[in-house]
Amino acid sequence: MTTTAPPRTPAPAVQREPRPVPAWRRGLRPYVLSIPAVLIIVGILYPFVLGAYYAFLNYAAVVRRPVFIGLQNFAEILSDPAFWTSVRVTLHYAVVATVVETVLGIGIALLLNRSTLVGRVFERVLILPLMIAPVIAGVIWGLMFNPQYGVLNYVLGLGSTFDWLGESTAIWSVILVDVWIYTPFVAILVLAGIRSLPKEPFEASAVDGASWFYMFRRLMLPMMWPYILVAVIFRFMDCLKIFDHVFVLTAGGPGDATRTLQIGAYQNSIIQLQYSQGSTYMFLLWVIVFVTARYLVSVLGKAQRRAAGSEE
């Protein structure tokens, strides 16, 4: 005799009542959740607002009781030719350095994309300049630039008479150092982008007999555009705020040849102890960076939509 067990009916799921949250935890929750906001306010907004507020005072070491002076600092700085020289130097630096680093970075990324042994070695070597603090890089390049005992004039056969940090050459020399430090950053970013591209369009083009340059121009570059723009945005914004290696190499000189906005702010705030004037410099720099960043990010958005095919 066989017996069949009666079909089992699943036991009804026990509807467990959620354990009541203790009142003290309910009361604490809003405070815990607000911690990030408080940190943002204390850590970012408060110093920023305080710094901006100083721009409206006559706060300096020799002024015992600073008072509100409205826009006087802005009027003084905007009518100072040295400020506009700093703006010109900063923009010159940022545009040239960003363009050179982007072009070189793309070129290096394309070379490294061919996964040869040499390419793989260079991939590792490439990151070395990024691992050196810009101040140290400035010191190293300062020694190499020295006409009396530096290695550059010796290797290039320029004798002791070519001055890398002279009136007409200093801006190009500090850009050269920036290019040396940051081109690898662009190259690494672009290389990561290249390796994330789909292979199919390239394989189809190769079957159709398209040349390498045609594929680069019509396939790779449009798809790579968002990655390149990210690199451009990072580098351009960084260059607008450049300070460290320029200060080490030239301190803004000769004359005002390399006096960037950050160096102007440093000189006002730290050397001359004119805190309000330094804050005004930085506030104006912040406006420039903010407006530029907004514009570049909107361009990036368009490029991404275009790369995704959602916008012509």
């Binding site: 070491a61 020799v62 009396q148 005992y149 890398w164 705020k241 000769p254 000189q267 805190y275």
Partner: protein, 478 residues
Amino acid sequence: MTRRELWTPNRRDLLRMFGVGGAAVGASSLLAACGLGTGGGGPATDNGAAEVTGGFDWRKAEGTEISVLQTPHPYQVAFQPLLAEFTELTGITVKADLVAEADYFTRLNTELASGAGNYDAFMTGAYFIWTYGPPGWMEDLKPWLQNSSATNPDYDFEDIYEGLRRSTSWDFQVGSPLGTGGQWAIPWGFETNVLCYNKTEFDRRGIRPAETFDDLMQLATDLTDRANNKYGIAFRGSRSWATIHPGFMTQFTREGCKDYEKQGDQLQATMNSPEAVDFTRKWVELARSAGPTSWTNYEYPDCTGDLGAGTAMMVYDADSATYPQNIAGNSAQAGNLAWHPGPAGPDGNYGTNLWTWSLAMNSASEKKLAAWLFIQWATGKEAQTKAVQTGQAGFADPTRKSVFDGAFKQTLGNFPGYQETFEKVIGSTDIKFTPQTQFFETTEEWAVALQDIYAGQDAKTRLDALAAANTTAVNRAS
């Protein structure tokens, strides 16, 4: 409508937020750094000297620990091993924080402006008193010196060279000379600005240092041989106030020039006077024809480094900066160097600008008696004598006449001309600048003007513009 429907950030929104936020954060950090807190204008604490009563006793602050902010320098290096003796003498322990000279004054500015009182005493130069004194960041040491309960009867403040005592004292009134008002620091070590030259090379050529500025120009030019990477004379040229004060200000003064003149209750910049324009033009010409190629970037280590390497034949800078190059093992030219006062002025004067590393007390310190005992000990006869005798890196120019005439002279055997040079200039050595609170701004602008003239601008036009700007700056601040 739920909160989520109100705004749903997509990838692009997030990227945009991060981009703009990143820019804001980057800029805000320095904006905040520019605002150094509100300690600068705050009231200083009481001087405290009057609270010390009774007989003098080194152990009056026994058990205290003080913090001292210092920069690595031959003076500091020579004193470091002696701190244990100070602790043994007083029962006070000293915590010395060292910050490299390039960053030292940035750190000190920030520290003093904060009013936090983290450091009880600190190293300073005389020019810094003009900036740190008016906001009340430094303690007046005169009441401490005058209080016999706080100051050892053997201290002998008058033993410190008069030019040095005067250089560290001022009343902060525009137009007042140095030596008026409070004593804001005690000179600890100092340096005169004179010529150091490669004696071996001079002897080989059968030549001697120049006695007039025109002769110096000719001599330096003759010694310059760019093809063999040798040049006549090194002096500072970087975009810094420090370019003006050593050789330039010394010779500027000897040639009869002044930086400012008092007119009523205002200062008038006179670095564009006919004699100043003439001298400045010559100085820049000297840099161009016989100076280092990268002159606009030269600081004193570059100058002395070239002297020690045999690249520069002469250096016009602090004697203590050239002194280490002559110590065996320190440079290729060690043992070959000698000193000379440099060219006299047309009237034969040897007016010389000085630099003094001095010790000052933070007005926000809460351990002022201990800080004063430390300053008093470090600037006293016994400690300076020991530092001179034991300092491995040398201890150029002790601030006390008794120490110079005693222990220091015995160390000068291998330094031809050092003592003679010192004795020739010391009587006319002090601060040659007119004291004013905008020293760093106006003097850096002066260095920028030299660089502009070096780059080809007309000296008269450039110095006229500099004088106009500096006149406005010094009177605006007063």
